[in-house]
Symmetry: C2
Subunit: 380 residues, 2 copies
Amino acid sequence: MAKQEDQERASQEKIRIARSKEIADKLVEIGNRIIRELEKYENPAVSIPVRSLSNVYYDEKARLIRQGNNKSDRTYFNVAQSKSFMQTMLMASKLRDLLEQGSTVGLRQLFYMCRGGIPGTNENTFDEQEESDPIVEDVEGMLDALREEMNVYADRKGILCGDLKIVDHGDEIDCSKLGSSGYGIPSIVEKGRVDFVDCKADYILIVEKAQTWSRLNEDKFWKKNKCLILTGKGQPARGDRRLAARLHKELDLPVYVFTDMDIWGYYIYSVYKQGSINLAHFSEKSAMPDAKFLGFMTRDVKKYDIPKNYWIPLDNEDHKRVKEISNYEWFKNKKEWLTEFKSLLDFKNKVEQDALVGKGIEFMAKKYLPEKIESKDWFD
Amino acid sequence: MAKQEDQERASQEKIRIARSKEIADKLVEIGNRIIRELEKYENPAVSIPVRSLSNVYYDEKARLIRQGNNKSDRTYFNVAQSKSFMQTMLMASKLRDLLEQGSTVGLRQLFYMCRGGIPGTNENTFDEQEESDPIVEDVEGMLDALREEMNVYADRKGILCGDLKIVDHGDEIDCSKLGSSGYGIPSIVEKGRVDFVDCKADYILIVEKAQTWSRLNEDKFWKKNKCLILTGKGQPARGDRRLAARLHKELDLPVYVFTDMDIWGYYIYSVYKQGSINLAHFSEKSAMPDAKFLGFMTRDVKKYDIPKNYWIPLDNEDHKRVKEISNYEWFKNKKEWLTEFKSLLDFKNKVEQDALVGKGIEFMAKKYLPEKIESKDWFD
């Protein structure tokens, strides 16, 4: 490794640690304020952003889904809120410990760390992980920080390959030399933990399915076409979105998304591009508004002569979801998408990317994808 | 890489290719025989091993679950069998193509490749992947070959880290330098595709949960304890079992398994150790009868003072499964296991390995696991 790169990464690591301290300090500050308020017999409260569709909007200018400014107070002396207030405090205190230790833990491990139990009672602070996960998101909102910055990981999903070196916790990993395995994308990919060096790729190709990724990797598509190939295995995990967005922004790489020709695939594209409703507070760090949708598109069926035995009839769920998605702000003003939705309904069938292997093992790698990219045949 | 290793791997690759040819030849032979029989107006048939509990037994001597010798004939001129006969033929022909090309495909891709469609009709040869997956297993049985040897992969799950170099399709991957990512275990890990060099580990530690793997990897448990750490993320995929078994046998490494303290964890151990009922034909290639179960055990609860707030009450499903598993041949003569099952029922609770992080971030890495292994506190 070049010396300059070493210095660059050492400085990233410093920035990460400074950010850890900043978040820990915020937590201490909140804790101290609450103690003071309790000592004065006041009713302490914390302010949490509202996480519901009503507080989510599409930012036309930035072209991403954002959380609005509505907040709700969570107070201690309030029968309806005191449990969640205490949960929030316990979670905040454990997160502070993690930040100070610099260690990371998983969401389920964190649930147990906070399960608590109130001395002298049979009560747990948390009975199920379904209670603790949202409290982590509350703390994210309270501090305007990401779970990943507070050292908490989730189960991971995605894989990446291509001509890029990644430095992951000090280990330099050459993503062009990982055989059939690829780089398994960690849940936490913040700067200072995961950094990039020596990228020789010209763009990022995101594919919906793991089996597509494997096929393209075996065909060395990334090598012949100078790209990175990433899959989030269906709906991507946060780490997959964050890594793709960092590569896109920091290395200035265009992003193309290739999914099934169905409403679920279209929506996966939309999550990569402008974020999701549930994680609106995460869009800024992970959305890629310039991403393009390569396909599979309804018009490709005819163009590439996809035989009927690869079609699967749409069911009620598909119809319902097309209707729902057509009304989302970020689709409803886009003519090409509304036309695509209509065309999908008219066609009455969907086509999975797995089916394309039926057109020949190398059809995707040698014909479909290169032609699509070459002729810029994509949707915005 | 040393020259000797290069030669060794080249010879593995040759063996793999010879095996591919052998399987392809068997397929051609079956195909030719069937054509001859048809030309003579005979009723062609293939013989498929029966894959049900009735044809599965526990081999006491080899200490693994095996498939019995019951076979059933699948014939062409038989209303009840002619569809599955044709499905088997189409599948066999596509598998032969794959073997000749040397390319690999995923099970879903293979489904589409075989979906077929009979000319002049609206019939598909396969309507759902649920139909084609068992036919792949039928062909495995018919040929006494593995899906992996016929170049068909499934979605993968597991991860590995430790002081070992793996050569994966020619790329040398140092599993001690993969940061927080680890080596994502491919679905196909047969010799010639995936080979081992330079192992400095003394044993293999298999852990049930991905989050446990991440915690131990971050604590560099593998480095301090000279081991490989592998997780199959719950029930392992075939590739995870096969890779573990190859490491165990070829490198002569003892295997320890660490799961949740519940019947599902105990059964995961059992699958690694003696195989599973559904994949009885796969046991020989993947079982590790010498594997030991480290825990978590009911007696550890007291020994390590696991507080009540980490316990989860057993439910009906747990009770039902304990009963079922107690009657399996491979458990019912093992006194320590029967005692453990009883003790679990008496304790009325289960404990997940995730909970142990509540005893301290490094409790697993610094106390529990080293003590267990040091004192040989395990079940067979």
